[in-house]
């Protein structure tokens, strides 16, 4: 089953909801955590390859589920360093608000660089989740600016 449409987000969220009760161990997240809207993780061609479902506590991103295209659990990952503590975890907006992500890319971009719409993708491996923003410089050359939390880079940098 290949899930492509936005409406199927609900099914992804439902899968994550089942997993939330069995996989999440931290008592604070179990008690106060909520699932955020699933975001498709797309490859460079725009095909959905996996799903990112954040787990938020108030405005903090405590962790996330990653499901593959067949909705199998790939992993549950937590930003928490200590149990029942959210210290050091990123804000939800830093990882899910496309406006904020675009703004961070804009600060990194050259003054004359035009920016596209952010998309959630990955760098090299599907587990290296990152936002991508396609850009156009002088209408002749383009690149992708990557935004991973507070870290912004482009392939030309590396």
């Amino acid at each position: 089953m290949k899930i492509m449409s936005e409406t199927d987000n609900k099914i992804v969220r439902e899968e994550a909801s089942k997993l939330f009760h069995t996989i999440v161990e931290d008592s604070l997240v179990k008690r106060e955590g909520r699932l955020l809207q699933p975001i498709p993780i797309v490859n460079i061609n725009g095909d959905t390859e996996a799903w990112f479902i954040g787990v938020g506590v108030n405005d903090i991103l405590a962790g996330f589920f990653q499901l593959d295209i067949n909705l199998n659990l790939m992993r549950y990952s937590s930003f928490q360093r200590r149990t029942s503590s959210l210290e050091g975890c990123p804000r939800i907006d830093a990882w899910t608000n496309s406006g904020e992500i675009l703004e961070r890319a804009r600060k990194y971009a050259l003054p004359n660089e035009q920016l596209g719409v952010p998309f959630l993708t990955y760098d090299n491996n599907i587990s290296r989740i990152v936002w991508g923003v396609r850009t156009l410089i002088h209408e002749c050359s383009s690149r992708i600016i990557y935004v991973a939390g507070d870290y912004v880079y482009s392939k030309q940098d590396t």
Binding site: M1, T7, D8, N9, K10, I11, R13, E14, S17, K18, H21, T22, I23, E25, R34, L35, L36, Q37, G54, G56, G63, F64, D68, L71, N72, L73, M74, R75, Y76, S77, S78, F79, Q80, R81, G88, P90, I92, T96, N97, S98, D123, N124, N125, S127, R128, I129, V130, Y146, A148, G149, D150, Y151, Y153, D157, T158
Partner: protein, 399 residues
């Protein structure tokens, strides 16, 4: 209609699932051991009217100790959906509160049916109907009116306050797969613990009682040996006097996953190197001009671990990683660096739950340096969904 579970089987199947989870160490024995499922619970319907699941109260003595949601529809692929502690569920009392709330909204409300619905699974509401017509739907406990289906699109991060049908939105293909998985699971329980007529049940095992010792006794009579293994890294092999002992390091550039992984491994052995220093040893450049490690240089990891510890650590690269290796190394209290295509992380624990041949989960505890400057701890990475390219292990050279 794709109902999967008969009401008469709800207590038995719920009990078997809960007994298995308690036995596997997933459910807290302090909360569940000695508890009892007294009824088949409350049926919860889809907004389109199909039965979705039962909300089954679990009691310990006179006190409600937990709630189990048990699937009865092909939108779910396994019987047990969720277990919640500390939530009271008094069906009649909830209905009375709902009716009082409804009369505040419409004093002259006229209905002949009240039923629980999952209006946006797992969010629940109570629907008031007259004949086949819905009169009102109120969200559980907030008693806010649930808008009709046409309303508001979801917000940017979460779903808005709207209803949708889980049955309608689950693809047919997935339902078919779910039915197969669900029936397989139930028939496997039936094979192990067949449903018995009341006359024969007096002396036999009663699955609706959640009892660790009794379930263990029952499993002993079954040829398949139940096994649950979980282990994290500790300071030493003696778990009794130490806490788990491993720290996450985020990679400091977009391409320093290997440097961060080596740093984590060296940290475990108390070698306190900056990541920049590890990167320098691996020829990964500087913070302002970083490089990644080419595949051809994988072996450098071994050289660097050994050189940075003055050969106190003996490092090894494995080009064919397996579950047996991960398990063996963690049991020997050794962290592993794990290369997957295009990325590097470390592994500091594993879990394997296998009650029967058909009840197996293998997971790795992964300390992942991505995203940069943060990293995440993955508990658990499903071993059967990942491709493992290389592993690196290290052991202290003994004299």
């Amino acid at each position: 209609m794709s109902e999967l579970l008969r009401k008469s089987d709800v207590k038995r199947i719920t009990g078997l699932e809960l007994n298995a989870l308690q036995f596997a160490g997933v459910l807290d024995r302090g909360v569940f051991d000695g508890s009892h499922i007294t009824s088949s619970g409350t049926p919860i319907y889809d907004i389109d009217g199909e039965l979705l699941f039962y909300r089954v109260p679990v009691r310990r003595g006179q006190k409600a100790s937990a709630l189990a949601d048990v699937a009865a529809n092909s939108v779910f692929g396994a019987p047990l959906l969720a277990v919640q502690h500390g939530l009271e569920w008094e069906e009649q009392q909830i209905k009375m509160s709902a009716e009082a709330a409804a009369r505040k909204i419409r004093s002259n409300i006229d209905f002949d049916k009240m039923e629980f619905v999952a209006y946006s699974y797992p969010k629940m509401a109570i629907r008031f109907s007259k004949g086949n017509n819905e009169i009102l739907m109120l969200e559980l406990f907030s008693w806010t009116q649930v808008p009709s289906e046409r309303d508001v699109a979801p917000g940017p991060q979460e779903y808005g306050f709207s209803r949708w049908s889980l049955v309608r939105e689950t693809p047919e293909e997935k339902k078919q797969k779910n039915i197969t998985n669900y029936r397989k699971r139930v028939s496997q329980w039936d094979e192990l613990f067949p449903p018995l007529p009341p006359k024969l049940r007096k002396e036999s095992f009663k699955p609706e009682y959640i009892k660790y010792a009794e379930f263990e006794r029952q499993l002993k009579a079954i040829p398949t040996v139940p096994r649950i293994e979980t282990r994290d890294l500790y300071y030493s092999l003696d778990d009794n006097d130490h806490h788990p002992c491993y720290e996450l390091r985020g990679q400091q550039t977009g391409v320093w996953c290997v440097a961060a992984s080596v740093q984590m491994l060296l940290d475990f052995y108390r070698y306190d190197y900056e990541q920049t220093r590890v990167a320098q040893a691996l020829n990964l450049g500087t913070l302002t001009n970083p490089n990644s490690l080419p595949y051809a240089n994988d072996g450098d990891v071994v050289t660097v671990i050994e050189s940075m510890t003055g050969n106190a650590l003996n490092a090894t690269m494995n080009t064919n990683p397996s579950w047996t290796e991960f398990r063996g190394e963690i049991r020997a209290n050794h962290p592993l660096i794990s290369f997957i295509p295009g990325h590097s992380r470390t592994v500091a624990g594993y879990t394997r739950t296998s009650l029967f041949e058909w009840y197996v989960f293998r997971g790795l505890l992964v300390y992942d340096p991505w995203p940069p400057n943060a990293g995440v701890i993955t508990r658990w990475e499903n071993f059967d969904t990942q491709t493992y390219r290389r592993t690196f292990t290290a052991a202290v050279t003994m004299v």
